[in-house]
Symmetry: C2
Subunit: 389 residues, 2 copies
Amino acid sequence: MASVSARGLAAADEFATVRRFFEAVMARTAEGGDVCDFTFGNPHEMPLPGLVAALRQSVEPLREDWFAYNPGQPEAREVIAGALSRELGLGFEPEDVTLTQGAFGAIALAFRLVMDAGAEVVIPVPGWFCYAPMLRAADLVPVRAPLDPERFDLDLAAIEAAITPRTRMVVVNSPHNPTGRIYPRAALEALAGLLEAASARIGSRIWLLSDEPYRRIRFDGNGFVSPAAVYPWTLIDYSYGKVLLAPGQRLGYLALSPLLPAAERAALREAFFSCQMALGWGFPDSVMQYAVPALEEVSIDIAALAARRERLLGALGAWGYRLTRPEGTFYLWGAAPGGDAVRFAEALAERGVLVMPGTLFERPGDFRISLTANAAMIERALPAFRALA
Amino acid sequence: MASVSARGLAAADEFATVRRFFEAVMARTAEGGDVCDFTFGNPHEMPLPGLVAALRQSVEPLREDWFAYNPGQPEAREVIAGALSRELGLGFEPEDVTLTQGAFGAIALAFRLVMDAGAEVVIPVPGWFCYAPMLRAADLVPVRAPLDPERFDLDLAAIEAAITPRTRMVVVNSPHNPTGRIYPRAALEALAGLLEAASARIGSRIWLLSDEPYRRIRFDGNGFVSPAAVYPWTLIDYSYGKVLLAPGQRLGYLALSPLLPAAERAALREAFFSCQMALGWGFPDSVMQYAVPALEEVSIDIAALAARRERLLGALGAWGYRLTRPEGTFYLWGAAPGGDAVRFAEALAERGVLVMPGTLFERPGDFRISLTANAAMIERALPAFRALA
């Protein structure tokens, strides 16, 4: 008699490479020593004072129901709708926004809010390694569409080729993990046209999930356009875990494009609560909800990230590494010397430097560096990068 | 073109009665005035000092990775495994326990960890009103099995009748919401025998989900036996939200019975992380995880709950109400005078007293009182109960 469900096993299978890597990193960092960890986007400096101050204030109860069931503070939803409206130039109302336990929670909700078992979802490659396992756990089918291999732009022909009569969603991630690419308005408009035509052709609406957790982490004054501004059937997921560099405190949201036709907008607003509750409650802790107004003003030091980017691009570039210059996110992406990212990552690990091999992104010749490592780690790591150039 | 998924709509449909009631309560309490709210198990006194002290300590970062991705602090899992082992007389290891965002998260995980779409799950009536919508959201099928109508004991004949070749799980909730019944060992042993025989007969293992959020809220020195002690294929879900009366701060766990055969125990332990991540991360906030050792020692005042129970049972009993004497939980359950709980609840609401009509539990002749109301509310509410006796 089998024990684990088929969907549970399918999720685990999609995640197996990441899982093994994660456990190896845990084991390696547990050994101690001066490990330079450039793998997951985890903090390597003390938490932001603004975050800690907001938490200190939020844990002090002001009312009897301070820690009662809390399916989304109205004040928090208002603050977010206002900030999103200003940021994206769209008219979000508080009811368009539901608070979630980070982007993970928002994505899990989006997948179930508008799709049933068997639907196909187009995801980018390279791309975040949790889309596929999350889809399998929801009985949905990931369909890979490669990005343009040079610039990592959206490849409309690849997306078009991935669409079938069972397609119900396309995931767009901008700024893009792991390449740092931010898609321009023209590319998003072309995608919107493609999705409009494809929806008409297959007779079912294709939704767009805009995965935007790095939206506020951009370099060089780069702008940002959300797909929600050009395609009405867009759901936005967002996480405060990146900009606060505190993914252990879950806070994010799912938001409807205000351009959605009124009847569908009303139906989805109405469905938020029951779907989210039925998926496992899924609202952030009260402490995080009370902190939203304060946290809207807090961010990691993006200038410091940009400086680390310059330091690594400059040094590694001089030694012959071919790296992409990210427009946003806190990652560097490039080709592993020798063409075998696993071997390269192992050689670096022997020198105390941990990077993420592209196998985790289905690109075994590339690797990713997280700029959330601190400046001292970068300086300590440079000789290892040089030795393996 | 439809917008909300069929499973989302099915979950909303199962929850519609509760949703309407919840919104009516919110509207009524927002009006202000001296409303006596006996509906949901929410706090009506200031949060426990022990909880606030633990939160104050947990928000102070001691390390750079204090708020990093946190899929379950080893220390927290050890504390829980130890406490569970002592409490239930079984040998839990930390790997048998995964931390979740309350019991909601644990139940959502359990449903997907061991079951695929189309499986049937037997749930008690009366019983918690979220089992059915949570099952629908997971593409599972709720099958109602009534409890014994007099004592609210498990009705083995009703459970047996509910089992089909598609049955994969039976939910047991003890202490039982809304009746306060605690099932004795003999009843659980009889159920275990039934499930063992039925599993053999249908050729598929039937799991038991033991929903135990009220496990530590018991009166009169009553003992507690977990189904995990008598049926190896038992998953335990637990929430700290009841004993701390702080459901807005999500903390709970899913635990495997240590009696599970070794191969299945190993397979489920291994599956926890990927399933939980793929379901939307679903680990509690770091602040709550750090607080586990302190929170294990904190509890609402159960003697005060017992005193409120006595006060209400005594007064209402003298006026002719027929109420069940709960062995645990913080609820009173009984027959609505006149036999129509909705009409009774509306008449009470006109007098500023809110109770939960049994329609939410598929028992339209009964009603529930939550003892989480404060003592002053109880005294203020007594004349209304008397007037409608």
